[in-house]
């Protein structure tokens, strides 16, 4: 579909044409490493926040010498980009400590990056009133840090405007997702993920306009025959549409997900009428499906995932977790137990960040799909 090509192109490169145009206009770009970092605040400063990815990067040998082989391949890939000078277009990076891999990546980025702005955003790790309070405190620190580094002021109205733009994205993404309930869905999981990634890598107003124009086209699109299996994919550091395509080529359709490069990034809206906009932002982050790094977040997260499973008619779940990711290892175990109670199969696929296909994965996915077929 011609109109989808734009999104695919934007998703395929980190420093894509839109970002280059933004930079040519004299505007700033800041990279973020985790969906827990409140992008709204960066956008409120008139800076474009983009989620750091390393499309098609295979070799991380320079980063391996600084981090360790047991650090996840996502963090090593981001560091590798920095060491190769491929993040030179950034005006800054916001790091965080979601997990130990991220915590140590933050250390390396702080030491290695020669940028005007490096900020460490300290994440909460347990849900509750304290976390809401902490998140606001950390946002105030980020706001102050941005103001100081770039000699500017971020007003409440700036933040409200950013909230409005981001809410619009989330509503539009919500509408797009609704289409995926159909059988067959009018767009593939691969196409959906290209849109998802484009949203993280282009100026938001522009993305919103493009997406709004795309929606009626998708709605009226006539899909082929019914798909064999409707799947959900969950996991961490999963941002390659090629990986989704690899699964879908076997006859399945990814109809929903629990990815930080997916549902978690776009779910929930922020109260635009809250007198304290930072508090409103905090609530959106703490109320969405919790990252597995949150020690008591699984019940909340599973509540949301199980709703998606029911409403999107999911027949099986693929957990694509990065090797050495303890959090997803634990979440996978808890998830498998809950899904078993609901009679839903789960395929556990341990992968490296850059791995989008392999013979072993192919066999396992094929066997999983055949098992689903035999159960149908």
């Amino acid at each position: 579909m011609e109109d989808l090509r734009y999104f695919a192109e934007m998703a395929s490169e980190l420093n894509n044409a839109e970002i280059q145009a933004w930079k040519r206009a004299g505007k700033r770009v800041i990279g973020t490493v985790c969906s827990n970092i409140p992008e709204e605040l960066i956008y409120a400063a008139g800076i474009l926040p983009i989620r750091l990815r390393a499309p098609r990067l295979q070799d991380t040998s320079s980063a391996d010498s600084l981090l360790h082989r047991i650090n996840c391949s996502y963090t090593r890939s981001v560091l590798e980009l920095l060491l190769r000078g491929e993040l030179g277009f950034l005006d800054g990076i916001v790091t965080t400590n979601t997990c130990d891999h991220m915590l140590r990546l933050a250390g390396e980025l702080q030491a290695e990056a020669r940028m005007p702005f490096i900020h460490y955003f300290s994440m909460y790790h347990a849900l509750g009133k304290a976390a809401d309070e902490w998140f606001v405190l950390e946002m105030e620190k980020l706001k102050g840090s941005l103001e100081q580094a770039f000699s500017m002021k971020i007003s409440d109205d700036d933040v409200r405007r950013a909230i409005f733009v981001y809410n619009r994205t989330r509503r539009l993404m919500g509408q797009l997702n609704e289409f995926r309930k159909a059988d067959p869905p009018p767009l593939s999981g691969t196409e959906y993920f290209q849109i998802v990634l484009a949203g993280m890598s282009t100026p938001r107003e522009q993305f919103n306009d493009r997406l709004e124009a795309l929606l009626p086209l998708i709605q009226s699109r006539r899909a082929g025959g019914a798909v064999q299996s409707r799947l959900m994919v969950v996991g961490g550091g999963c941002d390659a549409p090629e990986f989704i395509e690899f699964i879908e080529r076997k006859g399945a359709r990814i109809v929903t997900d629990g990815l930080c490069f997916g549902m978690r990034h776009y779910s929930g809206t922020i109260d635009e009428n809250d007198a304290n906009p930072l508090h409103a932002i905090a609530l959106r982050y703490t109320n969405r499906a919790a990252c597995p790094a949150i020690i008591n977040g699984f019940p909340q997260s599973y509540g949301i995932l199980s709703k998606l499973i029911r409403e999107w008619g999911v027949q099986g779940v693929i957990c694509a977790r990065l090797k050495f990711c303890d959090h997803w290892a634990g979440a996978r175990k808890l998830l498998a137990e809950e899904l078993r109670k609901d009679g839903l199969p789960l395929l556990d696929l341990e992968r490296e960040y850059s791995t989008t296909s392999s013979g072993q994965m192919s066999t396992r996915i094929q066997a999983f799909l055949e098992m689903l077929k035999s159960q149908a």
């Binding site: 981090l67 360790h68 915590l103 140590r104 250390g107 030491a111 304290a130 634990g330 498998a336």
Partner: protein
């Protein structure tokens, strides 16, 4: 499946108590001079486990299972028997590795990958094997690491016993400490009141804190003596006081044991007789965890290379003040600070701070080399490797990195670890 805590009690009665007595009856050369210290610290450890076993059978009491990020004083204030689960694997690695293998395997069979920290796999395996004490509840913070954050939700499901999660800040300023202290007040105290069915009594907490302050003063004194050249006390005796403090702070038994160690160490310094059985040639900062399965390693290092581990980045730098007992808020702030800034909780520090902290210990204890262990289940210390190496090069600090699993000798057997250490001291340090 045995009864809860059965194997632990067997080891306490069948091994620890006889070992403590053996030290007194047959002091082992060349450590005769330290026999009563070894005996006291083993007995203190055994007492701790016995108190847990006693609380299991007492309907008026509870066992408090807690994690790094907390200290025992609040649990003593509610007459609970605290057990710091992070130390529990080392109880078995020092006494019966087969139990360790069994628990690790149990966790893996239940679906925990083998690359998750062995401490957390051990704890989950112990729960699956019914070894954790019953009549218990859990309190944990979200610090220090990824392994903790996955092990406790799994334990919660397995054991279905009361559990409280506290949100540990990953910053280390006063604001962060107060944030944590507010949770101790608004969440931990009501939780303990509910579980124990006892009202909170500030005087009981103050008693426990005053007791822990005494022990803390002794601990600081003990550590101060290690700045002296040569350092008093052999290998493991230097590490054990700190671990004992985390497990028993607030109990008079611990205070008494630390006083014994302190009086001995201070006496040696005063009398100028800190020289131990082996000549001190090198002063080592051990960064991160030592192998818990090789009890003789430190003595072996001293004997063969004169290499004294005088401090450890996680457990030998006393950086805190005693807790201010003026009010509930000051006490909780002190407890928060101790919980967050002692032992493994330090791993929540960002890399720069973590390295600064280690370098401070390196300088303070006048070390001349570092041994940095890369525990293969710890994404955090492994991820700090590059920056540690860079700093050591800059400061010309000789450093040995050892990759191993501190609870599992199958990953790096003692002989192979000793080979690496031998090569370091006979080449780089010669």
């Amino acid at each position: 499946m045995g009864k809860p805590f059965e194997r632990t009690v067997e080891i306490v009665n069948g091994l620890m108590r006889p070992m403590a007595q053996f030290w007194l009856d047959n002091p082992m050369p060349p450590f005769e001079d330290y026999a009563r210290l070894y005996s006291a610290i083993i007995n203190n450890n055994a007492d701790n486990y016995e108190r847990v076993a006693a609380a299991m059978c007492d309907p008026q009491r509870k066992v408090a299972l807690f994690e790094f990020g907390l200290v025992p004083q609040p649990f003593y204030a509610f007459d609970c028997a605290p057990l710091c689960l992070e130390f529990y694997p080392s109880f078995f690695t020092r006494t019966n590795m087969n139990v360790v293998y069994e628990f690790l395997d149990a966790a893996e069979q239940a679906g925990l990958p083998s690359d998750v920290c062995s401490t957390d796999r051990f704890i989950v395996g112990a729960a699956l094997s019914d070894e954790l004490p019953d009549n218990a509840f859990f309190v944990t913070s979200s610090s220090p690491c990824d392994g903790t954050r996955i092990a406790y939700p799994i334990l919660h499901k397995l054991l279905d016993c009361p559990m409280l999660y506290l949100e540990a800040p990953f910053r280390y300023d006063r604001e962060a400490i107060r944030y944590y202290a507010r949770q101790l007040k608004s969440e931990l105290i009501p939780f303990l009141e509910q579980i124990t069915k006892k009202p909170f009594d500030i005087d009981r907490l103050r008693e426990a804190v005053i007791e822990s302050n005494k022990a803390y003063e002794y601990l600081v004194d003990i550590h101060d003596t290690f700045t002296v050249k040569p350092a008093p006390h052999p290998g493991l005796l230097r590490i054990m006081p700190y671990g004992s403090f985390i497990q028993g702070a607030g109990h008079p038994g611990l205070t008494e044991t630390l006083k014994l160690l302190r009086d001995d160490a201070v006496g040696r310094v005063r009398e100028g007789r800190t020289q131990g059985p082996f000549e001190e040639k090198h002063r080592v900062l051990w960064v991160h965890v030592p192998p818990t399965y090789d009890m003789e390693l430190f003595n072996w290092m001293e004997e063969h290379f004169g290499a004294m581990v005088v401090t450890n980045s996680l457990s030998s730098t006393a950086i805190l003040e005693p807790i201010d007992t003026t009010s509930l808020d000051t006490m909780l702030e002190g407890i928060a600070w101790q919980g967050l800034d002692m032992t493994m909780s330090l791993m929540r520090f960002d890399t720069e701070k973590l390295i600064d902290f280690s370098l401070h210990a390196y300088d303070h204890y006048q070390c001349d080399c570092m041994i940095v262990t890369q525990h293969v289940g710890c994404n955090s210390i492994c991820g700090a490797r590059g920056l540690i190496r860079k700093v050591c090069r800059k400061r010309d600090i000789p450093v040995l990195f050892i990759e191993f699993d501190y609870n599992d000798d199958r990953v790096l057997p003692p002989e192979l670890m000793r080979t690496q250490i031998e090569e370091f001291f006979t080449t780089v340090m010669e």
